[in-house]
Amino acid sequence: MTALQLSAQLRAKSRSVVEAVTPALDAAQRNEWGAFLRFDAEYKTRVLERAASVQSRLDAGELSGSPLAGVPIVIKDNISVAGEECSACSRMLAGYKPVFSATVIERLEKAGLVIVGRANMDEFAVGTTGESSVHGGVTNPHNSAHVAGGSSSGSAVAVASGAVPLALGSDSGGSIRLPAAYCGAVAIKPSYGGVSRNGLFALASSMEQVGTIAANVDDALALLEIISGADNRDGTCVAQEPLAFADRKQDLKGVKLAVIAEVSDDIRDALKSAGAELAEIALPMREVLLPTYFIIACAEMASNFARYDGLKYGQRSPQAQALGEIYRLSRAEGFGRAVKTRLMFGTLITTSDYYDSYFRQALKVRGLIKREYDKLLSEYDAIVTPTAAAVAPKLGETPGGKVNECDIFTVFANLGGYPAVTLPCGVGEGGLPLGLQLVGGAFKDAQLGAIARVCEPIVRVTGGGA
């Protein structure tokens, strides 16, 4: 059953909200793959209270027009819910409780969705495998010897394992698309500026967006519609209206798709037989995508993370006495290795000695990348790539240096601010899921959604993926 169907039943009173959240609570209790965080009796009580409150709103007829009312959802641990611990899975923020809720949280609460859990993730959303959480790694529900992918590992696993129909994640370089592809779920990263970042712990500010994960395209789009749109608490959220996904297509007639070499013949044939016009392209500026992304992301991150200084909240080293020690020791003890590496790199390349040769160059190259892809996306309705180059790697088998290559097909959407969706597309090596990525032009989210809806059943059965 889809989330939309579940909500329809709840609104028709053929089921209760408590019944709807019970499977999620049971799954959180078992927590087989490590997707859920801090689930205990107290949290369970809170979820049941939320369910009861939504039930009474349903009973009062308040939510009759809300398409996902009553549906359980999990939230990545870097999105603020007022009064609820939110640590981005870092020691640095252990015990931190935000005093306000993220805009996306306010919107989904208003729409009557029920938050049933906090999702595990790579520490501070830094990582592609889901293994760097201070709470321990997340494993793949299809084979727990493999990673779930990151950084939104818990969100993808909670959906892919059937624990919940919906999850929120965040994506600065592929962080919702990659784990969704590895675990066999649908994920959408909207256009930059389509969804408010207010309440999302900032990582790479100029590239990240909150996105949705679901078992199918319709559910993911419906959730995105609810959380998107203008927000006066985020000046970069330039969308005037919520993203709307009413557009539907019967087939792919007249749809122009730019396909890269890594997309399999089976997929091409399936897309063609649905009426799409395919053109072969090479991913423009492919060799500079990851370095450019990495430089900008680390620079922004180093500045964004400076506020975690041990003075006001989160980790403060018990050894620290003087001010300099509070900064140095708290940060040394609070951050994990992958985070520290990026903080040091990001700091170095924005110092006056390196700014011109690294950061300024990266900004320039980003401009060139954007120009190339803007042009491509004005000629084609979508760029089609595998979401990842291969299936989920085994646990511990992706050493630091190579991990980044997982993002090779995903980062251009963040560099250019484009909407991107990943669809399950059969299985690959070891029976593990594969994902197909569609990337559309900036703020053509509706068109991309319509194309994704048509592609979803075609590529799901075609399989063989990339």
Binding site: N198, F201, R233, G235, V238, A306, R307, D309, T351, Y355
Partner: protein
């Protein structure tokens, strides 16, 4: 040996009088219980984002237009990164690469004549919080954090402390007339850092030091005198100056080294990704230009054209409030010269309306008195003074704002004087007598 020349540039921070902070909705009111003018945004809590207060841009454009700057059509914010407890995000949002105003300047006048001081740039930024050191502890107050500032950076065009003071007075006058800054040095809403170096005429610029924490005009003069002497002494004794930031301690009358360039922080400025570039279009420029109030220079010029002396015009424009009052009185049809004279002697505050009436009465008296002989006038005045002295209660009522009391006093005066003077003359003399009493 030839004399030393002092070369100075100024960085002035003006805290803007917008109602709310530059990136959140908190009040900018001075003081308040510590940490009561604070929200998650200006406290730098994770997940908060800056939302720019457009009023700040408007204020910056106003100042830029008055100072003849080039207003950038597109400007941007940068982050200035450094760790310090008064900065909860550990970066200050400022403008380095693309500030709102470049160039421009202002003409100053000192005893040695006029001089044009060039501006380098004006940029918008947020202020930091305050640290309160108490018995081994340091308390943090973020009330001031994130309040809007304009930093007005001059070129190194100053040679004397008189020029510096003249510039600061002029700048302060402009900020106050634009009504964009209350310019209270004691409250820190108008602060100046002095960059100073010395050289022999014709030589290249010497090593400069920057002095901070100067809290009054007098302190500025003292600080410049001290620091320039220190530079000269070091150089004349064969020493070497260090480029550094120094803190002025007005109680000791000395400056102390804070940090040298060698161990200066690298602020790692880079464009703030949370704030989109700001555009200033022609329509906005036109709108702001049209809304510009008359500044003091323009007012003085107009007053002189109405027949006032330059000195009187300057006295009236000494404060914006007085000049606005004077304009209101003029708008009510009062004679400028008479109003200016009476204004200088006015001891207590009157509503503009009442004051304008007094001015008009004085004017009428002056006009009509010319038709009567001196003796009659003296007699009229004597009778009126007597009537006023005998009716202290009515005078008190009049001064309390009761117009009826004037009528009563008028009646008493007419009764005493009879037909030797017209009611108009009696009325204007009575008004003058009452006005004189008021100013005593």
């Amino acid at each position: 040996m030839s004399k030393w020349e002092i070369v100075m540039g100024l960085e002035v921070h003006a805290e803007l009088s917008t109602k709310t902070k530059i990136f959140c909705g908190c009040t900018t009111a001075f003081g308040g219980e510590p940490n009561t003018h604070v929200c998650p945004g200006c406290a730098g809590m994770p997940g908060t984002l800056p939302v720019f207060n457009r009023e700040v841009l408007e204020y910056a454009v106003k100042l830029g237009l008055v100072l003849g700057c080039d207003i950038s059509r597109v400007c941007r914010f940068d982050r200035k990164n450094y760790f310090y407890p008064d900065l909860p995000k550990a970066y200050q949002v400022s403008q380095l690469h693309a500030p709102i105003c470049r160039g421009g300047g202002l003409e100053i006048t000192t005893d040695s004549g006029s001089k044009f001081i060039r501006l380098h740039q004006i940029h918008m930024e947020e202020d930091a919080g305050k640290l309160l050191h108490e018995r081994g502890f340091t308390k943090l107050d973020y009330n001031r954090g994130c309040t809007p500032l304009l930093e007005i950076v001059s070129e190194p065009d100053f040679a004397t402390s008189d020029e510096v003071i003249a510039y600061l007075e002029k700048l302060r006058e402009i900020l106050m007339y634009l009504d964009i800054c209350d310019c209270k040095m004691q409250e820190g809403s108008f602060r100046a850092d002095v960059n100073l170096s010395v050289r022999k005429p014709g030589e290249a610029l010497g090593t400069r030091t920057e002095m901070k924490n100067i809290n009054s005009f007098k302190a500025i003069t003292r600080a410049i005198e001290f620091e320039s002497k220190r530079h000269i002494e070091v150089l004349e004794s064969g020493g070497v100056l260090v480029q550094e930031t120094r803190r002025w301690d007005d109680d000791c009358g000395e400056s102390f080294a804070m940090r040298s360039k060698a161990n200066a922080t690298d602020y790692r400025y880079f464009p703030d990704p949370d704030l989109l570039p700001l555009t200033v279009d022609e329509a906005m420029l036109e709108r702001v230009r049209a809304s510009l109030p008359e500044v003091a220079d323009e007012k003085r010029e107009r007053y002189v054209s109405l027949g006032l002396s330059a000195k009187t015009a300057a006295l009236i424009t000494h404060t914006r409030e007085r000049a606005l009052f004077f304009d209101e009185v003029l708008a009510l049809g009062a004679n400028a010269k008479i109003a200016a004279n009476m204004l200088q002697h006015m001891k207590e505050e009157l509503p503009a309306n009442d004051f304008a009436e007094l001015v008009k009465a004085r004017e009428a008296q002056t006009a009509q008195s010319q038709n009567l002989d001196e003796g009659t006038l003296l007699e009229v005045r004597k009778q009126i003074e007597k009537a006023v002295a005998e009716n202290a209660e009515a005078v008190a009522d009049y001064r309390a704002g009761k117009q009826k009391a004037f009528g009563f006093l008028m009646g008493q005066a007419v009764k005493a004087i009879g037909k030797s003077a017209s009611p108009d003359v009696i009325k204007s003399t009575l008004a003058a007598v009452l006005a004189e009493m008021t100013k005593e």
